[in-house]
Symmetry: C2
Subunit: 136 residues, 2 copies
DNA sequence: CGGGATCCGTTTCGATACTG
DNA sequence: CAGTATCGAAACGGATCCCG
């Protein structure tokens, strides 16, 4: 487990369990990585890199390490030339798939909703924080 | 919408919709805030502050503003002395409740699983990244 | 009561260059 | 191919003081 994850698992009360999920899945690219590994079963470093539209190797490596440390994916190194490294979901990672799917679905709906908002010319009486009115 | 949220909604491809969810819900205390507003229907600033075990006012204010900007909660100001401000879920926020619940459930299970790992004395052959072995 | 202003340390992201 | 090393910029969480 990452130190950060461990701290949160230890110290936070049950009331905020959702924060644990955010701590584990909240890094850049992480949900996408889990999603792709869910679809493809096994992926090499370079394949992940291309599918994700090229985050820098530095960044991708760190996210993968963190997911590994938190137990969601496994990393298998083939000591050969040229090197080859395979990533898969662990049991824990497969257990997270429904959550990732839910994140994907809600995020898609939210993005679609907001894109409609962006497309629509701001109409009079639109809701740009006009609640500064005086209800009482 | 926050600038950050808007950037992500605009620029990311559909393949990474989950990142949108993380962008919106990924701040400290945010899932907890939504959770509490789901339970209590309406809460004042001070009530939220106490229920969350006292984040500083500065931090709580910022998270509430971001959630408001992203359209998940509403803020109603009563111009009286002493002041009174009420927070509620918006329609968008109510729509996020199933997602928050899923985050809470998975986070709870993950935390329980990892706490068992922490409690168990590390047994021989435990999995602290021993995959550096040579499969081929 | 419900903040705003200011400041700061840490974390995180990301670009560039290099390597077994 | 799959990284590592180094560096800079920015975002974030948080403390402290002040205010209508």
């Amino acid at each position: 487990m990452r130190e950060k994850t461990e701290r949160i698992v230890r110290e936070w009360t049950d009331a905020c369990d959702a924060e644990v999920s955010i701590a584990v899945l909240g890094g850049a690219w992480k949900p996408s990585i889990l999603s792709l590994l869910g679809e493809h079963d096994v992926l090499r470093f370079g394949e992940l890199s291309r599918l994700l539209l090229e985050p820098t190797a530095r960044v991708l490596t760190r996210q993968l390490r963190e997911l590994e440390d938190d137990g969601l994916i496994t990393r298998e190194v083939y000591r050969q030339v040229p090197p080859k490294v395979e990533y898969r979901l662990s049991d824990l990672g497969r257990g997270a798939q429904p959550l990732v799917d839910t994140l994907t679905r809600w995020g898609g709906e939210y993005a679609a909703h907001q894109r409609r908002m962006l497309a629509a010319p701001a109409s009079v009486g639109d809701d740009e924080r006009q609640k500064e009115s005086v209800p009482q």
